[in-house]
């Protein structure tokens, strides 16, 4: 596939040729640099080949602004980095939103943070910084916002219509999604249009990353997605290790896998409880917390924290695990296997639940590719892509587990996928525990001040919500130059306005719940 793409782009662009990159060090196979005007042609080329836009970001290199796009493929293994340089005084670029729907919000974000103007973009209003900005936050120098840009940013006006009225879903939700506000244009009981409004929890982690050393940024990663904090920690730590060429010892890798899988189970359990509380059944919420308590006690025994872990370090772990941990995990596995029957009887087979979630929010493969959906939502639509199998990291390659997929792509299939994923996670934990090697937990030569070599890296891990991408640009100092977090909930939320058109309000709640969004990671 890499060869095919390389020859295709060479033919398309003629003067600029794609460069093959070492995948192990960089995280992508090809990189292409091109003029901004060629972006749409290249975008169309990738769309024909079945690629999806994984991430779009911008890096401010003082002399020029670099737009970076990552295209990846669901089935094959090929990731392409497309870059384009812009003049910092007049940053104009064509918008890819006509080709890929996911470009809509990425470009809004780049516009808000860097001031890049995308021509042809339908809606350039504020994404996160609704309070108003005077200068673009992520630029290295202070660039003031021009008057016309200010007007453009303030331009969100939902159009009125006859016989329709507006309802706000949120930002205070009775269910634990987080602070998301969705402006719904309702025609009686049916939804005509939905527009998510984010930014209530925006803390600008990407700017914080440019002011802290690599080690100092580690607690921030747990705060981005607090339900799957281990996976975010793991992603960051393995990304920096890959950048610096540090290898963690096998014992550390196994413990990392066990901790991350336990966290995955606890995240899925919470999702289950919250989803059913949305739908009206309060009891599974409490049962779920009982199970989660066991996991949290186990993880507290090794890390000391219950929700926002800061357990992994570059090169290994903060501290070793003890016998209590191993017995605790074994007891938990045996108990959890018995508990699945309860959830099966109470929830999965329940005819009211099936009627609420069947045929609701159907995601087709085309929609998934258009918006870059990932995680259980994608697997429910039938595409078996799991980063743990596709690009194995941290000892996942040594375990034997399957990827559950749905066939129809509705909310019920996504629910079944998550349920089966919990069972698979238990298998992984059991295998890891049986094969836990002895040895050190920290690599030998880890420098106190970590100074990665110059370059960039795009590292991908699988969080409970989907594909997390971490893009680090390093300039040899101990502070990252640019760090971009491509979070799965951001892409999953983009699908929501499409799915919910023409649905009842009760269905909108069911769809929103099935996407398993965690708003802090969207807002970063």
């Amino acid at each position: 596939m890499v060869e095919e793409v390389k020859s295709g782009i060479s033919q398309l662009l003629r003067e600029r040729r794609p460069v093959e990159e070492p995948y192990g060090e960089k995280g992508y196979h090809l990189s292409v640099d091109m003029a901004p005007k060629d972006l749409i042609d290249v975008g169309r080329f990738f769309k024909e080949k079945g690629f999806y836009l994984a991430c779009a970001l911008c890096v401010d290199f003082r002399d020029y602004l670099e737009l970076v796009y990552f295209f990846a493929h669901h089935e094959g293994h090929c990731r392409v980095k497309v870059t384009s340089r812009l003049d910092p005084q007049a940053p104009y670029a064509p918008s890819l939103s006509s080709v890929f729907g996911s470009a809509l919000w990425y470009e809004r974000e780049i516009h808000e943070f860097f001031g890049v103007r995308f021509e042809g973009h339908p809606n350039m209003a504020y994404l996160f910084l609704h309070g108003g900005i005077d200068f673009y936050p992520l630029r290295k120098e202070k660039v003031m916002v021009s008057e016309e840009d200010r007007a453009l940013l303030n331009s969100f006006r939902p159009e009125e219509g006859e016989d329709t009225f507006f309802i706000n879903l949120g930002p205070q939700h009775p269910s634990t999604h987080g602070v998301l506000r969705v402006v719904l244009k309702m025609d009686g009981e049916y939804i005509e249009r939905a527009e998510p409004v984010m930014g209530y929890l925006h803390r600008m982690h990407e700017k914080m990353a440019e002011n802290r050393t690599y080690l100092q940024f580690l607690p921030n990663t747990g705060r981005m997605d607090y339900l799957g904090a281990m996976a975010f920690n793991l992603g960051y730590v393995t990304a920096v290790e890959r950048l610096c060429g540090i290898k963690a010892p096998p014992r550390a890798q196994y413990v990392r896998v066990i901790a991350t899988e336990l966290n995955r189970i606890s995240s899925h359990l919470l999702w289950l409880g919250a989803y059913l509380a949305d739908l009206g059944a309060m009891t599974p919420f409490l049962y779920v917390f009982d199970d989660r308590e066991q996991i949290l006690d186990i993880l507290e025994g090794i890390t000391g924290s219950r929700l926002t872990y800061c357990y992994f370090r570059f090169g290994g772990l903060f501290n070793d695990v003890d016998e209590d941990f191993i017995t605790g995990v074994r007891r938990f596995i045996a108990r959890m296997r018995g508990r699945f029957q309860i959830y099966d009887d109470l929830v999965t087979k329940n005819v009211i639940f099936i009627n609420r979630t069947r045929n609701v929010g159907v995601i087709t493969r085309e929609t998934a590719r258009q918006y870059g959906v990932s995680g259980p939502v994608l697997r429910g639509a039938g595409i078996a892509m799991d980063m743990r199998k596709k690009e194995p990291y941290a000892a996942y390659g040594e375990f034997d587990f399957s990827i559950p997929t749905g066939s129809y792509g509705d909310a019920h299939d996504i629910y079944l996928v998550r349920f089966k994923e919990m069972e698979e996670s238990l298998n992984i934990i059991e295998q890891a525990l049986n094969g836990l090697p002895e040895g050190p937990i920290m690599a030998e030569k880890v420098p106190k001040k970590l100074k990665p070599p110059k370059g960039d890296l795009y590292h991908v891990v699988e969080t409970p919500r989907g594909e997390l991408g971490i893009y680090i640009v390093s300039d040899e100092s101990d502070i990252p130059y640019r760090m971009k977090w491509r979070v799965p909930s951001f892409a999953n939320l983009m699908v929501f306005p499409e799915l919910v058109r023409g649905c009842l309000l009760a269905d909108a709640i069911a769809i929103l719940g099935s996407l398993d969004l965690v708003i802090p990671e969207i807002d970063r």
């Binding site: 009225f165 309802i167 939700h173 009775p174 269910s175 009981e189 059913l276 509380a277 949305d278 739908l279 009206g280 059944a281 309060m282 009891t283 409490l286 049962y287 009982d290 109470l346 329940n350 009211i352 639940f353 009627n355 609420r356 009842l504 309000l505 009760a506 269905d507 709640i509």
Partner: protein
């Protein structure tokens, strides 16, 4: 002679007054008891203890809640339609109170045995629908209005199976009086003769009282609180009390019609009545803490397309069997 007439009227009036006072006292105590029971049942089903601090086993918790609600400021939003807004909480309590007049607690513990007893209850329960609409409209709030409209549609849809499932029992006893119906269950309870009717009646009763799985009008996780959004303090308490009293009334009617009312060996009749009624109340609460909510169009479809045809079939079969 005038003393005789006055004496007789006086005795009747005294009996009525005592009965009515007893009913009101019972309604209040019952509402408090049911709030406690709901929280305890919910707690234990969720593997936790419900209220436990206030009084032994938390029995005084409802009193603490009532005192809190009484102490709240009685807010009236500025834009509401004042007559409708003030009318709704009282209007919703009237059918609850008056339905107790005809319910037979024991063989001679009925305030007044009206010979069209069940018709009185059913007619007055339609007043609930009206008061919900009044509450939703008078609140001048689009969420309340949506909740009220949904509630009215749901109540109207489920009144019909409610009525039609009680009809076979009336056919079996040839009388609309509640006392006669209980007396007619001397040999065998009607639940054995009319299981389908019991099943349908129970579902319709749960839907009538706006309980999960049919509690979309009060869906907390969707819009705000439905038709009683704008009410706070004691007015809100009245809505809640009316809901719990309605739960008891539908259970009492189910007991009377299908489970033999106050009939039973050994224990006094009133105790049997309470045991059976509260068992059904427990089942209604059990439903609430087990099932998710049914979507609104599925709810209406279920009533119009499944329950009503089923009741008609049941009626026809009962009528046919009675003829033979």
């Amino acid at each position: 002679m005038i003393e005789d007439i006055v004496g007789k009227i006086g005795q009747e009036a005294l009996r009525l007054i005592i009965g009515l006072v007893g009913v009101v006292a019972f309604v209040v105590v019952n509402a408090l008891l049911l709030t406690w029971m709901e929280r305890k049942v919910a707690g234990h089903m969720q593997r936790r203890i419900g209220p436990k601090e206030v009084g032994p086993f938390g029995l005084l918790q409802p009193i603490a809640d009532a005192l809190k609600l009484l102490g709240k400021e009685i807010l009236t939003p500025k834009k509401v339609e004042k007559p409708l807004y003030y009318l709704a909480p009282t209007l919703i309590f009237i059918p609850a109170l008056t339905s107790f007049v005809v319910i037979p607690f024991d063989a001679y513990l009925q305030v007044q045995d009206i010979n069209v007893g069940i018709l009185v209850i059913l007619a007055l329960s339609s007043l609930t629908v009206l008061s919900i609409l009044v509450a939703g409209w008078g609140s001048e709030n689009k969420y309340s209005l949506i909740g009220a409209i949904r509630s009215v549609a749901q109540n109207v849809a489920y009144e019909i199976p409610l009525l039609l499932s009680l009809l076979p029992v009336v056919m079996l006893t040839n009388s609309l009086s509640l006392k006669d119906i209980v007396e007619a269950q001397g040999k065998i309870w009607f639940v054995v003769l009319q299981p389908v009717a019991f099943f349908i009646y129970f579902i319709a009763a749960v839907a009538e009282t706006n309980r999960t799985p049919f509690d979309l009008p009060e869906a907390e996780s969707e819009l705000v609180a439905g038709y009683h959004t704008e009410y706070s303090g004691m007015r809100f308490a009245l809505f809640f009390l009316a809901e719990y009293t309605n739960i008891f009334i539908v259970s009492a009617i189910a007991t009377t019609f299908f489970l033999g009312g106050y009939r039973g060996p050994l224990l006094p009749g009133i105790l049997w009545f309470f045991i059976k009624s509260y068992l059904l109340v427990f089942v209604i609460m059990w439903f609430r803490w087990t099932y998710p909510r049914v979507r609104f169009d599925q709810l209406l479809n279920f009533s119009w397309k499944m329950l009503i045809p089923l009741t008609f079939v049941n009626l026809i079969i009962t009528g046919g069997l009675l003829k033979l």
